[in-house]
Amino acid sequence: MDAVLVIQSLISGIMIGMVYALLSVGFSLTWGVMHVIHISHAAFGLLGAYLAYSLLTIYGIDPVVSAAASAPLLFILACGVYRLLIKPVTKAKEVIVASMILTFGLAIILENIMALIWKADPRIMTPAYASGALILGPFYFQHPHLVGFALSIAGIAAVYFFLKKTYTGMAVRAAWQQPEAAQLYGVNLYRISMITFALAVSTAGAGGISLALLNSFEPHSHNLWLIYLFLVVIVGGVGDIVGTALAGLIIGTITGLSMAFLPFQWVNLVTFGFLMVFLIFRPHGLFKQGA
């Protein structure tokens, strides 16, 4: 098998995997910290993509700028969603199930609001550099891949440092590991949950924008994205930021390798099949030894 093909497939596979990781980081966080499986996470990502699309086509604003600009917007929006919708279900007997049903409804609403605003036509994010590539020897680093990859690294690193180095971030981790004790030392769980949720949604926006640089999108695209979210989060381990990033790499590598070595017809099958086997043998993600 040709080395250039293999390496080239790996390059783009890994870059795309990282973009999925950025989209997944927030999903992992809400799931891990709040026990809320946020089905409309990808729909918020798609909303970010649409906002960036409009900013690009109307005002010529670069998607990277939009990714930064849409983050606070989505943050505020998510705070409202948290207050009105998520908060009430955190009192349910089974938060995971209740939150899934609720956010499933929210995803349908978001999808159709986007269909009303932006119409059902597919869109492509085409900034000036969209179809260029950085050429290193025989290898091509496509610009959208590079930008998506860079955004993902930046986004995931930002979340990582937020959790590791800031008081609020530490409070998020503390609230997750030991909610009672965290409260005793002054952590307001409600506020922390809201911040976690809103932060997650803002990273979804950046993830959606990165993904929109790679593939076309339509109002229903979030359904497909959601599947990748689940896979990345489960492989990486729920709530594990570094794990999520690595899971993106691993899934990207698997896809890249199967793209290089297998008939294309079998690529998706092998990817999902591998993930299934992986989950059977390492059901708690990459690092955790058990629940």
Binding site: M170, R173, A174, Q177, E180, A181, L184, Y185, G186, N188
Partner: protein, 234 residues
């Protein structure tokens, strides 16, 4: 300083506390003793604002505290070291300590506080980069106590600090608590080790089935035949 007046706490339809009153004077070390399920932890949690009290009042330096959220109560300087330590297991020892100074009011000067904690517990300084979940029981209790100190408490509430510790480690913890008290900190100590507890405290309360069964100077309680029979096995 802290006054608990006739509070009642219910879990569903079960009354966990019934008309409980208690007081801790400034600089005092008070004891709260009682058997399993007597409601000791519930009382601390009610003071800390973790569980809502349905009736009665809690006041702190004349201020009404009942109904306040836990973070508000922590801000007042009432800090609890919860039963079973409840450290943040996947965070390092240092992160655990830093979390103690989470409130903005105590964040300033937390560096000095950290140095002070390491001074009191040199073992924690050695283990500062280690995950809290990997510590031994005694070290965990030290970390939990250290974390509480980071919040600069004026009233320290300790829930079963010696539970599951070796006698040596327990003695060490008690010694430190005693020293803290002597430096002026008010302490409310909850423990099943009745003898030791009553030995180092001034006043004590005996909780039974969610109500105060007895109260008085610790020395007197130690001599009380009923206490002797129920808790000291004499």
């Amino acid at each position: 300083m802290l006054r608990v007046d006739n509070i009642t706490v219910c879990y569903g339809r079960m009354e966990a506390l019934r008309n409980v009153s208690l007081e801790v004077a400034p600089g005092e070390m008070a004891a709260l003793i009682g058997g399993n399920g007597a409601g000791k932890t519930t009382l601390l949690n009610a003071i800390s604002g973790l569980v809502p009290a349905t009736g009665g009042a809690i006041s702190w330096e004349g201020k009404a505290l009942k109904g306040f959220a836990p973070d508000r109560i922590c801000r007042e300087g009432i800090v609890q070291v919860p039963e079973g330590r409840k450290l943040f297991p996947a965070m390092t020892v240092e992160e655990n300590l830093v979390m103690g100074a989470y409130l903005p009011t105590v964040r300033k000067g937390s560096r000095e506080a950290l140095a002070h904690v390491y001074e009191i517990f040199p073992r924690l300084a050695d283990r500062r980069r280690q995950l809290a979940g990997s510590l031994s029981g005694g070290e965990q209790q030290m970390a939990a106590l250290g974390r509480a100190l980071m919040a600069r408490p004026r009233l320290l509430m300790l829930d079963e600090p010696s539970l599951g510790l070796s006698p040596k480690a327990a003695a060490e913890i008690f010694a430190i608590v005693r020293q803290l008290n002597q430096e002026g900190m008010s302490v409310l100590l909850v423990s099943q080790e009745v003898l030791e507890t009553l030995a180092i405290t001034v006043r004590g309360y005996v909780l039974e089935n969610g109500a105060v069964a007895m109260e008085g100077p610790s020395a007197a309680l130690r001599e009380d035949p009923q206490v002797k029979a129920s808790y000291l096995g004499l």
